[in-house]
Symmetry: C2
Subunit: 235 residues, 2 copies
């Protein structure tokens, strides 16, 4: 019933990508990035234990993760890097670009617009929105800035599927609602609050302070052995 009986595979086997575990999907961008970097360095082949070393993953995990995308490795040899890179890029929807809008043009929002990483990796900011709009600043880092009130109209005229929220916490839910109403289906939320979205809309949170607090939890308990004794003296 579930992909059981099948023909002899018409193509080089487009796997059932719908069933890739979430934990694997989370790691895909990391693989993709490492592979692109290795390709640039001129490497052409890599074994699972080498890739594991680069990414701090166990070789079995690397093999299992990659196996969801086909029989990409050669027994006794390893994986062809450019083939791997291509396969994962396709799976991730790289190689195209995504129209992306930004809500909130404060310090944080400006830093986001100035960060070339987004554009380089396929997320193109096509517009930014803010409530407190100083007249005159019509564009920042080349991205046009509009009043938040105009968001709905803007998205109706030129839709975007992805948005970044960088407004103050109290405005985050309202901004999210406006974006979702406008048809945005994936939101990257920098505001330190949990925003609510209808089913089918994706949210990921960027919360550096939460990550620090998480580590602090372990720090207050860790004995810190290594540090105590001078080991190899000063160095």
């Amino acid at each position: 019933m579930k992909g059981g009986e099948r023909f002899i595979d018409p193509l080089p086997q487009k796997f059932d990508l719908a069933s890739v575990p979430a934990a694997v999907v989370e790691r895909l961008p990391i693989y993709a990035r490492a592979l692109a970097s290795l390709e640039e360095q001129g490497c052409s082949c890599i074994k699972s234990h080498e890739l594991g070393e680069v990414l701090s993953l166990h070789p079995e995990q690397v093999r299992r993760d990659l196996s969801y995308f086909g029989h990409l490795g050669k027994t006794g040899v390893g994986y062809d890097i450019s083939r791997l890179a291509t396969t994962l890029s396709e799976a991730l929807g790289l190689g195209r670009h995504w129209r992306t809008v930004l809500a909130g043009v404060g310090n944080l929002g400006r830093a986001i617009l100035a960060n070339k990483e987004f554009h380089d990796r396929g997320f193109w900011f096509v517009a930014a929105f803010d409530t407190a709009l100083k007249p005159g600043a019509a564009s920042i880092s080349g991205v046009p800035v509009f009043a938040l009130a105009g968001l709905a109209r803007y998205l109706r005229a030129s839709p975007a599927e992805i948005a970044v929220v960088a407004v103050p916490p109290v405005q985050a839910q309202a901004a999210t609602d406006a974006l979702v109403n406008g048809g945005v289906r994936a939101i990257l939320n920098y505001a330190p609050v949990v925003v609510h979205v209808p089913e089918g809309v994706l949210v990921r949170n960027i919360d550096p302070v939460a990550s620090l607090q998480e580590m602090a939890f372990y720090l207050v308990r860790a004995p810190s052995e290594e540090m105590a004794q001078p080991a190899l003296a000063t160095s």
Copy 2:
């Protein structure tokens, strides 16, 4: 053998916090933040299903998570918010501050220093470091800036346990090594590379583009039912 036979608990039961599951620790900052906010709003009591609604978690999960920190709820009533907040704050090591250093004072680094969230939540930047140092800019957002070469000496004189890495990708490993050698035990890495640290040192990565790519993986597959039809017309 493992905490089996014990006495009648001398104190109000300091639980075995070492055995809190990692998944729970990850959520603790979220709980702490929500509780602080609820406390400010004047709420004094909350039920697991209410807290779950606020945080988009199932009530059973909320109860299980909180149960690692003692019998904090009252049957038929709910949880005392200020007691909960206090307990979790203690567990997270809040209520103290952490000396934090920053490596990398580019656009991103400056945005981090300007972000009050870090200071407000207990992470105080005591120094920042950069290779390409324009003479004159001795301090940014009130934080003194030094040459990266002086990092080791600085940490010997005034140690810090936590560091934030915001240097370009190629420099991230070197910066990390220097920090670890200086005694830093937890690193928040903004560089889009996997950095390697010795056992006992914690690392968390902030990688917004990876989060976007992860969502893109699902977007290229999702049918986007809701959007297609105008539902309730324009609105």
